[in-house]
């Protein structure tokens, strides 16, 4: 039962990541491979504030969201100029640079040694220490993110970013400065990803750079593509499926040494098969 709760918490975290990336990739059509960078900024800022400064978890999360958005703003100023494949490659580049900072700016992040002993959240005196209450909290955040995403998508802002996805040149003719919208959605996506980062940090109580590598960005991309581009429900399906998949594989009984690689192989095959036969994903409205 406890292990099941563990999986559910992971589902909530990846669900949030999936939703945030879908806003950028699915709705705006920008292939960003930098998700893990903002996930990581959120995790590290939260962890540092909790461990070094004894802050309240929710306040720390707030700061983490702002920090992540700020980093996204800086990167986005450069990134938003590009389109298509160059956007993807440049975002990959930024992802690597940020990962490098996590790994090497040891004075702040402690490098590969990581940050241990991250405390669990304290909600007005009640410590959310056991797994079940943590799950409840995570699901609450997931719901919040879902509602916010839906709001964005249904607003006129949402229509604008969809228009950018369909034909960026055309929308410029109508007086919309596409670059501003691309920047804004990128920043919003990064802020949401930071929420997931904060949840992750306090849950596992230990973070190190390895979680926030390019591979992780690819994993979240797989969630979004599988679930369906521009489908919020799809991202939740994608997250649930890909979180459960390793457990099913474990059930099949691959020896431990192979299990991790098998998982990677399955993700890869999934991406290829999806591109070949269903590029819009399970419930998506858009194909890349």
């Amino acid at each position: 039962m406890d292990y099941f709760i563990h999986l559910a918490i992971l589902f909530a975290i990846y669900g949030i990541l999936g939703l945030s990336l879908n806003l950028v990739v699915g709705y705006t059509g920008l292939l960003s491979v930098a998700e893990a960078a903002f996930y990581g900024v959120g995790a590290y800022v939260t962890a540092l504030l909790l461990v070094n400064a004894g802050w309240n978890f929710f306040a720390a999360m707030g700061v983490a969201v702002i920090a992540s958005a700020a980093v996204a703003l800086v990167i986005g100023l450069v990134l938003s100029r590009f389109g298509g494949d160059y956007y993807a490659l440049a975002s990959l580049g930024f992802g690597v640079i940020i990962y490098s900072i996590f790994l090497n700016w040891q004075a702040v992040t402690n490098g590969p040694l990581g940050i241990p002993a991250i405390p669990r959240p304290d909600f007005f005196g009640y410590v959310i220490g056991d797994e079940a209450s943590y799950l409840v909290m995570s699901l609450v955040f997931l719901l919040l993110v879902y509602v916010v995403s839906r709001f964005i998508v249904r607003s006129s802002f949402g229509r604008a970013i969809r228009a950018i996805r369909e034909d960026e040149a055309a929308i410029q003719v109508f007086g919309y400065r596409a670059i501003n919208y691309k920047l804004l959605i990128f920043v919003i996506g990064a802020g949401i990803a930071a929420i997931a980062g904060a949840l992750y940090a306090s849950y596992i109580t230990y973070i190190d750079p390895s979680t926030f590598s390019v591979n992780e960005s690819i994993f979240v991309l797989a969630i979004v593509i599988l679930g369906g581009l521009a489908s919020l429900r799809g991202s939740l399906f994608g997250a649930a499926f890909l979180v459960l998949l390793p457990e099913l594989l474990r059930f099949v009984g691959f020896p431990d040494t192979i299990a991790a690689q098998m998982r990677q192989a399955v993700y890869g095959v999934l991406l290829v098969v999806l591109m070949l036969y269903r590029p819009e994903g399970l419930t998506g409205e858009y194909r890349l």
Binding site: Q106, F251, T283
Partner: protein, 380 residues
């Protein structure tokens, strides 16, 4: 059914399947006549070179104890988890052992990284952690629920720094240091002592998956240090670095940490370049009868002598220490934690074990020199 309904059904079925599997699996494991103990160590990856033999040593000790009736008539069952010598997996391993297997004591981690990440989790759950290999000075006094029967690297660094300054009269030592808790601990201990003596240390850290050290080595060499400290986590990496040192035509005086010195094949393979190199090990005493018993039993059971004798002895002792603890105060994390600080002059295969209030073992590393492909005690 509409498309999205189908999907919810599919996901729902998946969830139910996984849930059933785990409930069933969990029920099977609930046996009453067993004392479950956790074990965390690197079973995969470069450090598996250490983790696997140490798992075998643990198994050896456990089977001996079980054959003699176990503890209070109950058999010991060890749940082995792969810490992969990194913090994240160490944390996950400890979390699983604490939450899913409900152990009261964990043997582990082996690597300092696994241990540093896992101790806070065990402490919050009031579970004891006993490490037979983690040597980072950061673990000293980290938690009342942690202790180790392997000495801290503060000893290793200090011994080597003293030898470098007083015996070899070196003024500047260059480090090529892998970014892991263990290697950093060794560096910190050495640098603190060496600098307080008046020496200078330069360091080029590298991340663990680096294979091309040439530019790093070139940069270090250009500063004309008196010696090079190859501070790595696993022996294979030392060979890679030493090969490239040779290719660059550099012949510096060398220092190596005990992770390398404890691996005889690596020492033999690089014996030409390592001749005269300084190292420090928590050595073994071949005249110790328990140690002899360990070696011969291991050989009988597995058909080879145990690799890494320094660790084999502490791993063997750790199981017996835990047995004595559970016998004395019962299988309870808090009781065991309090008991651990009372360990004084406990006789094991690694000699006399005394645990300090900080959780550290009272004793340390000895200076050694590589000579003829072997690590031998140095003449002081």
């Amino acid at each position: 059914m509409s498309k999205s309904k189908t999907l919810w059904v599919v996901v729902g079925i998946l969830i139910v399947v996984v849930a059933v599997v785990y409930v069933v699996a969990g029920r099977k494991a609930a046996e009453k006549n067993v004392i479950k103990i956790g074990w965390v160590g690197p079973l995969t990856g470069d450090a598996a070179a250490y983790g696997e033999p140490m798992q075998k040593v643990t198994e050896l000790a456990v089977s001996e104890i079980n054959a003699m009736g176990g503890i209070d008539g109950k058999q010991i069952q060890v749940v082995y988890e792969d810490g992969k010598c990194d913090g994240l997996d160490g944390a996950n391993a400890v979390q699983k052992l604490v939450n899913v297997d409900s152990v009261q004591a964990i043997l582990g981690g082996f690597c300092s990284s696994e241990t540093l990440a896992g101790v806070p989790i065990a402490t919050a759950a009031k579970v004891l952690m006993l490490s037979a290999g983690a040597s980072s000075p950061s673990l000293t006094n980290i938690s009342p629920y942690f202790f180790r029967d392997y000495p801290s690297d503060a000893a290793q660094g200090k011994v080597l720094a003293d030898a470098a300054w007083n015996m070899k009269h070196w003024k500047e030592v260059a480090f090529i240091q892998e970014q892991t808790d263990y290697a950093k601990g060794v560096y910190d201990a050495f640098a603190t002592e060496f600098q307080s003596l008046g020496g200078k240390v330069i360091n080029q850290p590298f991340s663990s998956n680096t294979n091309d050290f040439r530019s790093i080595l070139t940069t270090l060499r250009s500063q004309h240090p008196n010696a090079l400290f190859v501070d790595v986590q696993a022996p294979l990496e030392a060979t890679r670095i030493l090969t490239q040192v040779q290719q660059l035509g550099w012949k510096p005086s060398l220092l190596i940490p005990d992770s390398v010195a404890g691996d005889p094949p690596t020492i033999r393979e690089n014996q030409a370049i390592l001749e005269g190199a300084l190292t420090a090990e928590f050595g073994t005493d071949p005249t110790n009868s328990k140690f002899e018993h360990l070696v011969s039993s291991y050989q009988a059971k597995y058909g080879a002598v145990p690799s890494y004798e320094s660790y084999a002895q502490t791993f063997y002792d750790a199981v017996y220490l835990l047995k004595d603890g559970i016998n004395a105060v019962g299988n309870n994390g808090t009781a065991l934690a309090q008991w651990s600080r009372t360990i004084k002059d406990w006789q094991g295969s690694s000699g006399s074990v005394t645990i300090l209030p900080t959780g550290d073992r009272a004793s340390g590393h000895r200076l050694e020199v590589i000579h003829g492909g072997k690590a031998v005690p140095a003449a002081q």
